[in-house]
Symmetry: C2
Subunit: 313 residues, 2 copies
């Protein structure tokens, strides 16, 4: 007898959007309240194969399971007909240390928890009457963030801004097929939307802070390394409310850190994003609000454990 | 399609002692020559369950696979009828980052590579004419180190020294059943053997350096944390050859480090154990030699990869 290995088909069946959203909301609140344990990750490089491996662990303090996530990126793989990213999530009992199961999720759970976190925070921080949504970027997260936000609140026109017009058109078609009204837009037009989500690997800001309207909310999810930067410091300077999913991480390698180093925001001017999910936000209709999300490892633990619980029930 | 999970039955079938010894020898040499990559481990604590989790990765530079080993110790488990230790070894392609297989080895490979390393180094460093073997400790490593050394060279009487006489007797019976001649012994008698292997979790030295005879060899494998200490500094002072499996690790949390901090050995007085496996050692019959082994993570990678290669062949 060994532990079960659950594949993406099983994981997709168990992870309803309700389960993912509820789990990620609770985990963000737990993280904001200091009820999570996330040790420094383990990292390896394989320069000859242009590859790397990150191992991240996380635990919601007191919960039944913790997880160890192994994620590899080998950037020459497409030339071999293989995807660049691989990995798995190992779910371990926090009571006995026994391996409960392995989730061969191919990065699915990480993508979902990222999308759910972005959608939940955007929904909580945007004006109740906000209608238009702009998304910067045309990749998997652009699609997921948009469709998950539409599960949480009515979304009017979706403005898609991408550097590659073919990819922007393809994403619009895909969103249209899901019942959303999407069309390509310039950066200037997108920056004027009620709600803005940036999902790019940009190293220079993708929008002009002066073009963001009063009353708008902006969520950035793409900046996850010190050299990346999606949101301009001037946007943080204009913001009346700044949320970060992890203060130390966002300061170290998020857009918030760029703004603090540029002198556009005070180091203690942010609030833990999870706290904004506990009760409806009291915000001015003219305020600009910003969320900087760099990804919280404890969400992996919460989501994998919840999916496993559903599968083994 | 997901990756295979190989259980202990399959692993035991593939891992012949020849395969393990050859693989560990080559890996120790590679490590001594700087051809390994071992990142700092990831560590988590679960104080309420008296548990911890260590994640260690290793790679023999240039080889096909690397490994990520998840090992948990939950010390209240025996009260629940469960073993304290759990874990698995994940074998990942160092060319594409794809998970090749999981070895649900229940710690078997770690135990074997530890025993093989101890036996190989003891065999390489002991006098050709050394006959009597003393083992301190009565646990799994006491049994394994003894029987693996007996695969490499003739072993005469085995003197077993343990604090618990029942466990010492039980180990002697077990070694007798494997064709060895074993009997319990006092610490003083054991310290006078030709070859000595210490396998305890002791925090104060288990033998008196003055009782060790000229020409003897001593291998310590139990000290793997800064607060542990099996071999007395005075033994290192008497030694004419000191080998460490990993200089930095042994200095940080091995018996060698205790000796250096006590002023009994110079910080650069050790030689990489793996180098002694390349050619027969030129040693004086009257010299005392000492090996301090703290465990090398890259051996896990080499052994798991070799076992997997045999299994998938």
């Amino acid at each position: 007898m060994t532990f079960p290995v659950l594949d993406t088909a099983a994981i997709k069946q168990a992870a309803t959007s309700r389960l993912v959203l509820d789990t990620v909301r609770d985990a963000l609140i737990a993280h904001a309240e200091g009820r999570t344990s996330v040790p420094p990750p383990l990292h390896m490089e394989f320069p000859e194969a242009d590859g790397d491996c990150h191992v991240k662990a996380g635990w919601i303090t007191g919960s039944t399971d913790f997880t160890v996530k192994i994620a590899t990126g080998f950037y020459g793989n497409p030339g071999l007909g293989l995807p660049s990213n691989h990995g798995l999530v190992c779910v371990v009992s926090a009571r006995t240390g026994q391996v409960r199961a392995l989730l061969d999720d191919r990065g699915l759970l990480t993508a979902w928890r990222t999308a759910a976190a972005g959608a939940l925070i955007t929904d909580a921080m945007a004006r109740p009457g906000a209608v238009t949504l702009a998304v910067f970027g045309t990749g998997e997260q652009a699609r997921l963030q948009t469709s998950w936000l539409a599960k949480l609140r009515p979304v009017g026109t979706v403005l898609v801004h991408g550097r590659n017009p073919h990819r922007a058109n393809a994403l619009c078609d895909e969103l249209d097929a899901r019942g959303l009204r999407a069309r390509p837009a310039s950066a200037q037009e997108a920056a004027a939307a009620d709600m803005i989500i940036t999902t790019t690997p940009a190293t220079v800001p993708v929008l002009d802070a002066a073009q963001v309207r009063e009353g708008a909310h902006v969520t950035g999810i793409g900046t996850d390394m010190p050299h990346k930067n999606e949101l301009p410091p001037a946007l943080f300077h204009r913001a009346q409310l700044i949320a970060t999913d992890d203060h130390a991480q966002c300061l170290d390698h998020g857009d918030f850190g760029h703004a603090v180093r540029a002198g556009a925001a005070a180091q203690d001017s942010d609030i833990a994003a999870g706290l904004l999910l506990k009760a409806p936000l009291d915000r001015l209709d003219t305020a600009i609000t910003v969320a900087d999300l760099t990804g919280v490892g404890a969400l992996d633990a919460a989501l994998a454990s919840a999916v496993l619980g559903r599968l083994l029930r």
